[in-house]
Subunit: 529 residues, 2 copies
C-alpha cells in the first residue's frame, strides 16, 4: 500500500537518493516503507504543477469543489484499517483517538463542503452605479473573495489526520480554490502518504486539474524552505513549535514578495482560578483540570499549562483536591521519542527554576521503554513567575504550573505578563466576576478564545470557533485554523468595476443564481436585482 | 491657530529641541508655524496614554463611537477656510480639489459611523450548545470581531486630508475601537495639526478617554521607527512609497511580537488596450486615458503607468489620437519639491532605458519656479520591457509607458511579468473578451480591483471597494484601505465559550438587542433566540 514516493499531482516521483523510515512510537521498531526525500527539482515540479492547476482550479465552482472535498473524505474512510493502524503505530495514540480523529477530519471536509454549497462565505458586496450622479457618475462595483494561489502546508505531529495531509489547512485551501502542496511529516510519513493517496485518487475521480494536490517527503529543513521561498507559493499553513513556525514566518517575510504564514505555535492557555469558584466547587474543578492537563498526554495546543490563583485558604483546600486527582492520572506513550525527550528536558528545567516546587506526579511512574511521559504539576509564587521568562514558555506535554499570587493586583500583573495565547479561561462564581472584571478583561486581550467555567481542550469544529490568538500563539490572530472561517485564510477580495453581467462570476450576477446572501447597497439580502 | 506642538491625548507637549517649518509648494515661501519634533519620551507618553485609553475605548459602544466619528467630521468642517488654505499652501493642490477632499474625509467618517450604527460588521457567529450530545456535550460558542489595540498611522503626502490625520486609516481604527497615534507628515505639518486639533476637540466633547488620539511631529525616521517598535503598538497603517512602506513592514516583522502593517505603496495600474476596442473608439479611449494619467498631476496611487497593447494598425491609429490628447494636457504644481525632483529623475531614467522612445509631452513646458511637472508619455516594445526590471517601477507623477507587444502570447507574458497592483484594467469590445480571456485572467490575479472599460483613478468610497492588492502594491492584499471594509484591518475575532448571557457583549446576547445580522447555527438572521 505504501510506495514511499513523492506525490506530484497525478504522478509519483522518487528521484531523491536519501530514504527515510518511521518507527513505532511505543516499541521503537522500524516500520515498513522507505520514503524518498524530495529533491529540489521535485519541489519545482510540484510548484509548476500547482501554478498551472491554479489557473483551472480557481475557476471550478464551489459546488464542484464541495464534491471534491466529500470524495476526499470518502477515500480516507475507504483506506480503512491500514490507515488507522499506521497512525497508531507512528504516533502511539490509541485506536479510539485515531478513529475519533478520522471522524473529525471527514467532518471538517464535510463542513467546508456545506459552506461552499451554501455559498455566502465569499462576502459578496454590490454597490450599484449611478450614471446621473454629479460631479462624477458613480461606478458599479461588485466584490467577492477569490483564492490566492498555491498554498504550502506543514503538518502537525500530534494530529496525524485532522491537522495533517488532509487536515484543516489542506481542506480549507482546497475549499478556497487553492492548490495545495503538503510537506509530509517525518514522524508519520506513512500515515501522511496513505492520506495523500486518498486525495490523489479523489482529485482524479472528480476531474480536478493535475497539480491541485502534491505531497513531498522532507526530513530536514531543505524541502520546506524551498517550498516557502518559491515565488509561486502564495500562503503557508503550519502547525507545530514556536521555533519552527517562527523560522518559516521569518523566511516568508524575507522573500522578495512577502506572503502570509498561518502558523499555529505554542500556547500555555492560562486559566484564572478565582477564589469563590475554588471555595464553592474545589473537587469538580480539580477533577476537570487534572483531566484536561493529562488528556492525550497533554500533547494538545490547548493544554492548560498555567493556572493562576490567589494564595489563601481556598487555594490550599483546592490544592489538596487537585494533587489527589493529579496523582491518579496515568503515564502514557508519547507521540515520539523526540517529543518525550523534549518534554522531560523542559519539565526538568522548569522544576529547577527559582521558587518552583513540585506539587504532584502521577503515582504510576513512566515506562521509558514504552516512550511514556509522566504527568507533572508544579507551583511557583507570582513574584518568581514574573521575574523569570523561562517559566512563561510552553512545556509540551502533561505539565502545568500553578502560580500563587499574593493579591489581586499581582494576579492582574501576572496575567498581563503572559504571552499571546490560543485560549484563556476563568473559573468563576458571580461574585468573582464583579471583583475580578479587570483580570477577565486582560484575559480577553491575550487570547482568541475566552472560556468561562470550562477547560480549553476540546476544540469544537463550528462557525463560531476561533483557533488563533495573539503572537506567539499564532502568527496571525486575525484568522482561525479551526472551523468554517479557516478557509478565509487563503482568499483575498477582488472588486470588479463596470463589468458586464455575462463576465461576472455567478456569485456577483444581478440575478443571484446561487441565491447567496449579499450586501447590496448597504443591505443584506438574497434577492436578485 | 497653529501651535506647533505634539498632541498627546488631551494635552500638548513640546519637549523636543528640533523645530521644523513647512513651505508653500508653489512659491517655496516658508509658512507660519514652527513644529516641535517629538522626543522619544513623548512617543512613550503617547503609547502609554493609548494603552490606557484602549482599556476604556474598547468597551465604548459602536453607537457612541459613531457619534465620535461624526463629531470629528463636524470639527473638521468647523476649521473652515484656514484649513483649506493651509492644505492648498502645503500641497499645491487647487481649492476645488481640497474642498472635494474635505468632503470625502467627512464622508468616510460618516460612512464608518453608519456601519457602526447598523452593527452587523462585527461578523457575529453563534453556535448553540447541546448538553446531550454524545460522546461529549457541545459547548456554546459565540464569536465577534474585537479591536486589536493602539494603531500607528503614517499619513500620505498626496491626500492632506482623506489619507492623513483624520483620513481613512485613523477613521477606520477609531471606528474599530482602537486608539490612534498619527505620525504627522513633514510636508504638511500645518494641515495635519489643524485636523489633529479637530480630533482632540471632538474626543473631549464626546467624553472619549484621554489618549484615544495623539499626533506626533516627526521629520526623519526616528519618531516613526520608535512608534512601530513599541510593544503597545498592535497595527500600523501607511500610505506612501514602496521604500518607506517596506522599511516599516520589515521593522514590524522583526519585532519580538510581529504586528500587521497595512502599507499602501506603489502601483503602476496596468491597462490592457485590446485591438477591437482601439479600432472601435480610439478617440474616446485616448481622451479618457490622457485625462486619467494627468489628473492631479498623476499623483495618485491609481495612476495608470503601464498601457499594454498589440502592435498593429489599430494601435498606430490610436497612438495618433492619444498623443494629440496628451499634448493638450497642462503642467501643474506638484505636491512638493522632493516629489517633483523624484518625478523628473525617474522620468528621465525611464526615457534613457534601452528601446524607450518619447511619444508625447504636454505642449506647455513646466515652470520649475512654480514647482511644476510636465506630463510625459513614452513607448517601448514588449521584449525590451520584459528584459528590463527598471521599467516595471512606478514613476510617481504624470508619466505613462505604452508597451507594444508583438503578439497575444507576448502580451500575456508582459501582463504576467508586472508586479502586484492596486488595480488592473481592460479596454475591450465583446470580441476582445473571448479572444483575450487568458490575459484578463492574468490581470485578475495581479490586482485587487479589476476595471472594465474604465480608468483606475477615482476610488469610490463604498462597501464593495477593494483598495489593496498583491505585493508590492500593498503589504496585505487581504484587506482594503478604502471603503467600509477598511475597519476590518484593525480587529481580530474573539470567541466566547460557555459565557453567561449577562457577561456577553450586546452583539452576542441571545435577545439580539442591537438587531444585527448574525450567523446562528449556520443560518443568517436578525432573530433573537
Amino acid at each position: 500500500m505504501i510506495h514511499g514516493k513523492n506525490i506530484l499531482g497525478f504522478t509519483v516521483s522518487a528521484e531523491g537518493k536519501q530514504k527515510h523510515q518511521t518507527v513505532n512510537s511505543r516499541s521503537g521498531e522500524i516500520l515498513a516503507g522507505e520514503f524518498n526525500e524530495a529533491t529540489l527539482e521535485e519541489v519545482e515540479q510540484a510548484l509548476e504543477k500547482a501554478q498551472n492547476a491554479f489557473e483551472l482550479y480557481s475557476k471550478v465552482s464551489g459546488k464542484t469543489r464541495a464534491t471534491f472535498l466529500r470524495a476526499i473524505a470518502a477515500q480516507i474512510e475507504g483506506m480503512g484499517e491500514p490507515l488507522v493502524e499506521r497512525c497508531m503505530a507512528e504516533t502511539g495514540l490509541p485506536e479510539v483517538r485515531i478513529l475519533g480523529e478520522r471522524k473529525r477530519t471527514c467532518f471538517q471536509l464535510e463542513s467546508f463542503a456545506k459552506v461552499l454549497e451554501e455559498g455566502s462565505w465569499v462576502e459578496a458586496r454590490i454597490d450599484r452605479g449611478d450614471a446621473t450622479r454629479a460631479p462624477v457618475p458613480k461606478p458599479e462595483i461588485r466584490k467577492m473573495l477569490r483564492p490566492m494561489g498555491p498554498v504550502v502546508v506543514f503538518t502537525a505531529s500530534n494530529f496525524p489526520l485532522a491537522y495533517s495531509t488532509a487536515g484543516v489547512d489542506t481542506a480549507a485551501a482546497l475549499a478556497a480554490g487553492c492548490p495545495v502542496i503538503v510537506k509530509n511529516h517525518a514522524a508519520h510519513f506513512g500515515a501522511g502518504e496513505i492520506v495523500g493517496q486518498a486525495i490523489q485518487k479523489a482529485a482524479q475521480d472528480c476531474g480536478m486539474p493535475d497539480g491541485v494536490f502534491s505531497l513531498l517527503n522532507g526530513f530536514g529543513f531543505e524541502v520546506g524552505q524551498a517550498l516557502v521561498k518559491h515565488p509561486y507559493t502564495k500562503a503557508v499553513g503550519f502547525t507545530g513549535s514556536l521555533q519552527g513556525g517562527k523560522a518559516l514566518f521569518d523566511l516568508a517575510q524575507s522573500r522578495e514578495e512577502p506572503i502570509p504564514v498561518f502558523a499555529e505555535m505554542g500556547s500555555t492557555n492560562p486559566i484564572a482560578l478565582l477564589p469563590k469558584a475554588l471555595a464553592t466547587r474545589p473537587d469538580s474543578i480539580a477533577e476537570t483540570l487534572a483531566g484536561s492537563i493529562t488528556l492525550g498526554m497533554g500533547q494538545f495546543c490547548t493544554n492548560p499549562g498555567l493556572l493562576v490563583a490567589l494564595a489563601g485558604e481556598e487555594l490550599d483546600n483546592f490544592v489538596d483536591a487537585f494533587t489527589k486527582a493529579f496523582v491518579a492520572s496515568t503515564p502514557q506513550t508519547m507521540l515520539n521519542t523526540k517529543i518525550r525527550e523534549s518534554y522531560e528536558r523542559l519539565n526538568a528545567q522548569a522544576l529547577e527554576q527559582t521558587g518552583v516546587e513540585l506539587l504532584a506526579l502521577s503515582e504510576k511512574v513512566a515506562d521509558a521503554a514504552s516512550n511514556e511521559g509522566r504527568p507533572t504539576l508544579a507551583r511557583v509564587m507570582g513574584k518568581d513567575f514574573l521575574a523569570n521568562p523561562a517559566l512563561h514558555q510552553e512545556v509540551f506535554g502533561p505539565f502545568s504550573l500553578l502560580i500563587c499570587c499574593s493579591d489581586k493586583s499581582e494576579m492582574k500583573t501576572v496575567l498581563e505578563s503572559v504571552h499571546g495565547q490560543l485560549t484563556s479561561s476563568v473559573m468563576a462564581e458571580d461574585d468573582d466576576v464583579s471583583a475580578f472584571q479587570d483580570c477577565i478583561d486582560v484575559l480577553s486581550r491575550k487570547a482568541g478564545r475566552l472560556i468561562f467555567n470550562g477547560v480549553p481542550t476540546g476544540v469544537e469544529v463550528c462557525a463560531a470557533m476561533q483557533h488563533g490568538g495573539p503572537f506567539p500563539a499564532t502568527t496571525d490572530a486575525r484568522f482561525s485554523s479551526v472551523g468554517d472561517d479557516a478557509l478565509k485564510r487563503f482568499v483575498r477580495p477582488l472588486a470588479y468595476q463596470g463589468f458586464p453581467e455575462e463576465l461576472l462570476p455567478e456569485e456577483l450576477k444581478a440575478e443571484n443564481p446561487l441565491e447567496i446572501w449579499r450586501l447590496i447597497d448597504g443591505g443584506w439580502s438574497r434577492d436578485s436585482f
